[in-house]
């Protein structure tokens, strides 16, 4: 099959006449226009500032906004999560929403209820926005079709994790001043990673060049068709890159299943000081967390705040999720100019 060129799109502002975000849901980044992604990033900036303020409750500088007051946000997580769940919960609470978490252990899915019945049960409680994580690709879309409220995908199987890619982009943009024209290497377990897939969509749309670096057993087949350049050598793949995004290697995939051992993995695919020298000056190191120090990344690099943006990513996560919650509920809140103008997505 012919290889598709990596499309370099110069992102711009929302074109005249176009709605900044004409979608009912955020199920993935595939299909979004570049300016729609940028709109979410721009919206997130104000929340970064708010989150850094330290005023007392009720005072002008408080970390609080009331725009979602009276709205109910359900975080339905059918797969274990700590940080993403926490991030969405804080994001909702900072905006004044009533946030309820449905964890996997408390869900009636364990009792044999089908996913669609669970969806209908949730819908009957009249939530105003639902955040869903599920272990199966496509599950969030399936639930969204049954719900009458905005749905935010917090990760479905190996498919997409849009808010993670958005927070990565926001981090890069704040550190590097731009995304367009940068070369980004995504390294590690690409095969099982929804973060990588969402980042392919977003980074390509915003004009970055994307490389993937992984052992062949963790490289998705035909991934080059998605417009990325593939490397199986870290040294080659890191040559001249502006950003290195490391991915977590799940424990169940070590020890012979996909790679022979963690020490062999670290030796050839771990991010070390030496390897990082192949990258461009001022390279930015990122990791969606939680990190396996000594497996995919040398702890010293992770802790070097001049190069590592790991904690900043967490910070940007809350801001990006606040922006998404705000934008998706605008129609419901009657914000002028916010009927969804396009087809629901």
């Amino acid at each position: 099959m012919p290889k598709l060129p990596n499309p370099v799109v110069v992102p711009g502002a929302t074109p005249a006449g176009a709605h900044p975000f004409p979608h009912a849901h955020l199920l993935g980044l595939e299909g979004l226009q570049p300016w729609e992604m940028l709109y979410l990033l721009d919206e997130a900036e104000q929340w970064v500032e708010l989150n850094r303020s330290s005023g007392k409750a009720g005072s002008a500088g408080a970390k609080h906004d009331n725009r979602l007051a009276g709205l109910t946000q359900i975080n339905a997580f059918f797969e274990n999560s700590t940080r993403t769940l926490l991030s969405f919960e804080i994001a909702g609470k900072r905006l004044g929403a009533d946030v309820v978490n449905l964890g996997v252990s408390g869900s009636s899915v364990k009792k044999g209820e089908t996913l669609l019945d669970t969806a209908l049960t949730l819908a009957a409680m009249h939530p105003d926005v639902i955040v869903i994580r599920h272990g199966s690709s496509g599950a969030v879309q399936l639930i969204a079709e049954k719900l009458g409220c905005p749905v935010l995908n917090a990760g479905d199987g190996r498919h997409e994790h849009p808010t993670q890619a958005l927070l990565d982009a926001l981090t890069i943009r704040r550190r590097k001043g731009r995304i367009e024209g940068l070369t980004v290497a995504i390294c590690g377990d690409i095969l099982h990673s929804r973060v990588a897939r969402s980042n392919f969509q977003l980074l390509a749309a915003l004009g970055a060049k994307v490389r993937v670096v992984a052992p062949p057993t963790l490289m998705p087949p035909h991934v080059e068709q998605l417009g990325v350049d593939c490397f199986t050598s870290m040294d080659e793949g890191l040559k001249g890159v502006d950003v290195v995004m490391m991915l977590r290697l799940q424990t169940e995939r070590m020890d012979g299943a996909y790679v022979p051992s963690t020490r062999e993995y670290f030796r050839f695919f771990g991010l070390t000081e030496e390897r990082l020298r192949h990258a461009a000056d001022g390279v930015l190191v990122m990791h969606p967390g939680p990190m396996n120090r000594g497996v995919e990344i040398d702890g010293r690099i992770a802790d070097d705040i001049a190069r590592s943006a790991v904690t900043e990513q967490v910070e940007m996560g809350v801001a990006v999720r606040m922006a998404c919650l705000d934008v998706l509920t605008r129609t419901r809140r009657g914000v002028p100019g916010w009927p969804p103008v396009g087809a629901a997505r």
């Binding site: 599920h134 199966s136 496509g138 087949p221 068709q225």
Partner: protein
């Protein structure tokens, strides 16, 4: 006595294709041709319709008489994947009896106990109880040793062994064919050559044992090449397919449509075209519906969690006729893949209009247009062809001389 007049009569077994009168008497075909119509005969005027032997659907997962009649199917070859599996002569006998008189069920006995792929089931006793062949079920037998013994043992009973050709280890957990499409959707995928690996092994074992091997679904160009070469060497190897694999490709799973979750999974378009070509040159000689009705509970799930399979009985003929319209097969050759060929493969009565053959007859309008709509099916509606316009409607199904469907 029934006299059907004015139809274009096609007997795929002999190649007969002409406007003729067909007489049915005593549940058998009594005469075909320019025959005098007895005065006491009930006359069916079939001008403008095609008359063919009732379809024999070689490899379905559920006996579904109403859906079969609507689709012109009068006999089915039932897969052993029942609950419990058909691994016991009593279960085979029960399955064989359950369709009569509406649709005759010809069961395949399970190759191994509980279809687990480990110990041989009582296939000789199964044959005595009515099984027309042996089948590995929805999955291939992982162990080459077990498959070898199965083929060798089956030969003593002259039974066709029906195999599912997908390497079990390579396809474990996979729900799609490897490719950029599966990668984009984040679906666990297996390489297409998992089929060729399984076919190569099974053909070699069939050659070593002299057994008759039928690969129920061959869906890749590489697999087809292996079958073609084996047939050229004179081996008793045959291949079948269902309409999904020559009409759809991997892009049909867009939007995580679980109705397009099939086993084997849908392939690349190059493979799809190879399947079509293989039907045209006779390498694939059997077309079956793979009828596998699924409930909403089994299909309205995230793609990977949904069970594979499609309801196919009601759409088999119309979809097969697409091969006639695009010039791949003549009408007689298309009908042969669903009548005479499976009848010969499994030693079934029917599939022919020879005098004395069972009066299993269908009349259909080759041109009648309609749109496939799963929610209007008589049986379960899990079809990946929902919304697709087709042509070809069964107007009458006669089973054993009795009219069982008219539309």
């Amino acid at each position: 006595m029934i006299a059907i007049t004015g139809a274009r009569v096609i007997d795929p077994a002999t190649g007969f294709d002409a406007v003729a009168t067909v007489l049915l008497h005593d549940r058998m075909v009594a005469a075909v041709g320019a025959v005098a119509i007895p005065s006491d005969a009930e006359i069916i005027d079939a001008r403008g319709l095609v008359l063919s032997p009732g379809l024999i659907d070689a490899g379905v997962f559920r006996a579904d008489p109403a859906a079969c009649h609507a689709g012109g199917i009068t006999r089915i070859v039932l897969m052993p994947d029942q609950r419990p599996p058909l691994d016991d002569p009593a279960l085979v006998a029960f399955a064989q009896a359950m369709g009569k008189p509406d649709v005759w069920v010809h069961p395949l006995v399970a190759a191994t106990r509980d279809l687990a792929g480990q110990e041989l089931a009582e296939i000789g006793l199964g044959q005595a109880a009515g099984a027309v062949g042996v089948a590995t079920g929805r999955h291939a037998i992982a162990s080459s040793a077990v498959m070898h013994r199965l083929l060798a043992y089956s030969r003593a009973f002259d039974m066709t062994v029906v195999s599912h050709a997908e390497d079990p280890a390579l396809t474990a957990g996979a729900v799609a064919t490897e490719g950029d499409y599966a990668t984009r959707l984040g679906l666990a995928a297996a390489p297409a050559f998992a089929e060729a690996l399984a076919i190569a092994r099974d053909i070699r074992l069939a050659e070593a044992t002299g057994a008759r091997l039928h690969l129920r679904q061959v869906t890749t160009a590489e697999g087809i090449d292996l079958v073609r070469a084996a047939r050229a060497r004179g081996l008793a190897v045959s291949a079948g397919v269902t309409p999904a694999h020559w009409l759809l490709n991997e892009t049909a799973v867009a939007g995580f449509r679980s109705f397009a979750r099939l086993s084997p999974p849908l392939r690349s378009d190059a493979d799809r075209r190879a399947v079509e070509a293989a039907i045209g040159d006779g390498t694939i000689s059997v077309i079956a519906s793979g009828h596998d009705p699924r409930s909403q509970e089994e299909k309205r799930l995230p793609f990977a969690d949904a069970l594979p399979g499609m309801a196919g009985a009601e759409t088999l003929l119309a979809l097969a006729l697409s091969l006639v319209r695009n010039g791949t097969l003549s009408l007689a050759a298309a009908l042969k893949t669903m009548t005479a060929t499976p009848a010969a493969l499994f030693g079934l009565p029917g599939g022919t209009l020879a005098v004395g053959a069972p009066a299993d007859i269908i009349l259909f309008d080759e041109q009648a247009p309609w749109r496939i709509a799963g929610d209007r099916f008589i049986g379960a509606g899990n079809t990946p062809f929902d919304g697709i316009p087709v042509a070809g409607r069964v107007r009458m199904t006669i089973k054993g001389g009795d009219m069982v469907w008219r539309a």
